[in-house]
Subunit: 309 residues, 5 copies
């Protein structure tokens, strides 16, 4: 399938990347109902690791089965499906070639002692991603944690290997840890900083959270106020984060967080769209709903990103 101009434009920003990586990005950008628009919706299913199976899947027990999620992402016409090793292995053959896959290569869980540094374990390799036919690896960093620098070193090495082997890298940039207050984790200065760090580390796709208008760091607060940076609306904040992502030269998708009402999900998507963001990475809000309801929501989101809603 020939890449659209929009997609070719985006690919042109990745000017230091080899054809393998560009091809992987292109596959994701051209796949599904948003294919060719430069917008993306990705289904991530790592909550089994993060929150455990019952909290993740009991509200919609069909979702205990790894095949469920492949099928959901395919049927909804999403751009890609992201999950840890075991989840992908359990369906990689059945669904081979039907949906671009992102191997989530590190993971945390709810059984980590509270006093331990915020950190994740590397639970899959670049070669695993190749072997399973993935288009990208995914990796979480926790800027703000005492384990943060080490996580940066891990993804730097892994990214280099992945890129050399023709895989794109998606960085989940989630500020967390001793350096931050709870409000700070979603503050706009922190969100923009998170996007910047991921970009500097060489992420091809950056995943951050939507932010509030809280400003966490006093030194930053001063600059936001002096320079009158507009952070008054979600769309404005998305726009600011896109600036921090090399002035839009990097793809940024925004995560949805815990399950909530559909209209709230739609509002988020409109803000992402209006702020120039590239799309959503949306897990619990889809797979915890009954399948038909989830398909409907995803269809609506696609319409929003297409500017039809």
């Amino acid at each position: 399938m020939k890449a659209t101009r929009t997609v070719q434009k985006i690919l042109s920003y990745y000017e230091a990347d080899n054809p393998g990586v560009k091809g992987a990005l292109c596959r994701m950008l051209m796949h599904g109902k948003l294919g060719g628009t430069g917008k993306m919706i990705i289904l991530p299913v790592d909550q089994g690791f993060e929150h455990g199976p019952a909290r993740s899947f009991a509200p919609n027990p069909a979702a205990y089965d790894p095949h469920y999620h492949f099928q959901l992402a395919i049927d909804a016409g999403l751009n890609a499906y992201a999950a840890p090793l075991g989840m992908l292995e359990a369906g990689a053959d059945t669904f081979a070639g039907q949906i671009p896959m992102i191997l989530k290569a590190n993971s945390a869980n709810s059984l980590i002692p509270a006093e331990a540094p915020k950190d994740q374990a590397i639970t899959a390799s670049v070669d695993d991603a190749l072997r399973l036919g993935c288009s990208a690896i995914g990796f979480t960093i926790y800027p703000g944690s005492s384990a943060g620098l080490e996580m940066f070193e891990e993804i730097s090495e892994m990214r280099e290997e992945a890129a050399a082997k023709g895989l794109a890298t998606v960085i989940w940039s989630y500020p967390r840890g001793e350096a931050l207050s709870k409000d700070g984790e979603t503050a706009i200065d922190i969100a923009a900083y998170a996007a910047q760090i991921a970009a500097l580390l060489g992420a091809h796709i950056i995943k951050i959270k939507l932010s509030t208008d809280h400003l966490e760091l006093p030194e930053a607060k001063k600059v936001y106020e002096e320079q009158k940076i507009d952070i008054s609306t979600q769309a404005a904040r998305v726009r600011h984060c896109m600036q921090a992502a090399f002035n839009g030269r990097r793809i940024v998708v925004f995560s949805g967080g815990a399950k909530k009402g559909a209209s709230s999900v739609y509002d988020d998507a409109r803000a992402i769209r209006d702020g120039g963001g590239n799309g959503s990475i949306i897990g619990r809000n889809t797979f915890q709903r009954p399948r038909e309801e989830a398909l409907k929501m995803l269809s609506d989101l696609i319409d929003i990103y297409k500017g039809k809603a």
Copy 2:
């Protein structure tokens, strides 16, 4: 030996695995008196490491000899025998080809200072397993320990190497450590979580403990109650754990714990069977009994798994 349909069905779930790993799983599933049924009984003898020799073997001194356990597993018609390096080396030639072996690749002991993080030492390699003719490696993880993430990283690397070399991986998923209360170690939410983590890490066979109806994590408790998840009986709890093991796409065996009365052991097995579990991994309850008594018990257990008792 041609694999039965049941075994072929199980093997089909391991869709990302190479023929070497599937062959290793098949050898274990087709071996012994339960061969072909999809059920398994495994004899594990790592208590010499865990509790020391006298606590493990003095009740039945013949068991000090490593040959004893090979012979017991063979004579009882079990599916596999699991032990640390030294134990396997001491009989690997005499019993070569007579019983599938699982090399337990990490081990703890009772001399670790109480204040140290719950952890194990890696005491054997994948190449050791190949050299000894094993079908799988075994590895313990302690979700809940401050060493947990590091253990996940260790087994992730080892599993990748083992699978590339045609060996299956059995994960002993034993929640333990600072994050958990004593009751929490056997709580049903924790047991299901343990199964899920092992599955996500890519375990081919998951070993967890039977659980109680205690719920440890407040966030999880809420979901169990809201969703009215049935955890009222041992069989129901086994069934829930099988859900957590990719809806039954992964083999799960349950461990027996300390020596206890035969009827209690049989009750456990019936619950495992009725809940859809794949079988038992049973050590002290067999090798600490006199040989004839142990053979009788294992024969009874086989009957239970065959649905005859």
Copy 3:
């Protein structure tokens, strides 16, 4: 382009280096408006990592775009442009061959918990530098930090690899950490020590801060007073630092620090020149000003280093 005598003289000091490294140094020394003079101005843009995007770029929003900095360095006729991986990747192709590049291979950030040891993460490799067409790698060390020795080991290994592959090494030697008071970080004894350590570690180009006449270490203070070392003026202090850089056998550039008035920037440059330093590495004072103003300032600095102002 034939190297000038001045540059040949400087290159002759690197007597243990292979032609690859000498060629890389020569490219930087011969490039731009100061080419051939033995003086250098380098544009470093790692503040996005260090201080976050808004504090770095909001005063001059065009600077959010990585291309801006390449163009600024090229248009101003500087010797080299230094930045982290992501920044270079975003423009490496567009500007290929137009400006010598230094890949800043480690980075800190403002989200590191205050109580953590002063340290940086390695976020790029020597092979990344080769792949992007860089002339050098850049690396920060923090003498005075409890992580200092480890940083020395990291750069020692990286320098060896870089030199073997024909890349020069620039060391940012920034004393910081438990061993130093705030004033001590810019004390003259510490600045000279920082230059000496970088030289001993094998730096080809040393970046230190301009210093004050404060003396931090009591043992050193005694010697400075006994030997009547002249530290009364900035030029004298630069001269002393050049002594510490193997009596001028190593290139030393001085950093400018936070944004300040133009005349203050010019005074600094005159002191560097008069003290025999090799030049400036100047970031915030240029890219945080409007482009025309920055170009004017850089032009003035070039004149100063040429002895015309």
Copy 4:
């Protein structure tokens, strides 16, 4: 030299080992005055590391010279000589081929701060052992120390390499550290546990201390009392330790400890012999005595192991 039946029997227990390792064991078992009896006396000289030179050698100053110990082991007709790298290097050529050598590959010393975890440094490699013509490597583990698991991992890796290269492994299993009381270090339950751990780690020869009838671990004490395990005499305790060494399938030698009276040394040897142990590893009690006295004592010990005294 043809191996005796006794030695062939012992070698047959090492059923997973390659001919290289069996050959190395055979060389030690067939060497010296006890050659062929299945009994061994080994001279270990690592006290220079452990206690320093004066405490080790001043009582018999000839022993400062590394050649002294080679000659002593040869003249006394011992099975093997064990020492750290430097000691072996200083005589390896002069005495090449005259006595099987064991390279002690890790070492502690009396200058380690008291509050540091009980640990040793790896001070030689498997390749060093090959290069020097050794038959085995020696390695100390400290079960009970917070560094214990790490030591297990070190020897597991080193043992695998050594065995692949045809060298046997001798493990000095010395319980020590935070988990143990001073009395516990020589308690019989701990000694048996130490033997078991070394066997499980794959030691070909196990070195433990003679024990007392103290029982350290409450859980173990209960079993010893319930099962009425005989620990009343030193010979009985040796017998119990041989059980713990895979029911005698592994060679166990017992160490003598600090210098003491000859009759006490002889009593120890008789207990080892009567309990079915394989022999002594005896350092200070020989090299701290005048040479003639030491040769006499070793001759007497050989007679004891031959059943003549």
Copy 5:
């Protein structure tokens, strides 16, 4: 140049070393005015790292230039010159082949926080030493530090690599750290222990400090008194240290410490000579004096070692 009998005798003690290492030792022993005598004077210049540039070189500013030290060592007719990477690189070509070089491969500095473990950073590699044409690597260990065991492991690995590549190893054995009092650092029992440890680690040349008659370790004190070890004079203490260096089978040179009066330096050398030591490693006492004065002193020292003064 044919090695003298004295040198051949010394080389014969290194009986496990390959011709490469013996050749390197021979080069140093046969070089300079003491060539062939079995005595050595080495110029070490690592004070720039240890104490900073001003404390090291301000008393004799010509010494800021790395060339100064090469020339001094050559003109004085010393056996070898030892320095960190940067210092050697700055003169390695100019002085190639004119003086045997020792690459000091690890280094400490005065900016390490006081509460950090006494440790050094590895700042050069064996391959660096080969590339620069060195005859040996130099490495400091701190027995008595909580980082001591790790330093032993570092030098053990590096020594093995160096020896395999034909380079000798010089160990600076400097007891220091939590286990020792200030007086203990130069106590005779500790000095002898330091020599022994370096010898056991496989040092070809051992560098220790001259000692006092203080006895630090109670267990050792008892033995020194019981055995009436003569430690009454510096010569006697040197003699005892030579015993601890495998009864003189290893070359031991003694360091001079801080700058002091010439007669005191000469007294030290006579004690070293009379006690059978191999010579001096003397830095600050030479390069901190005016060049002519330093040459005079070195000439006098050479006469002392030749027995002429």
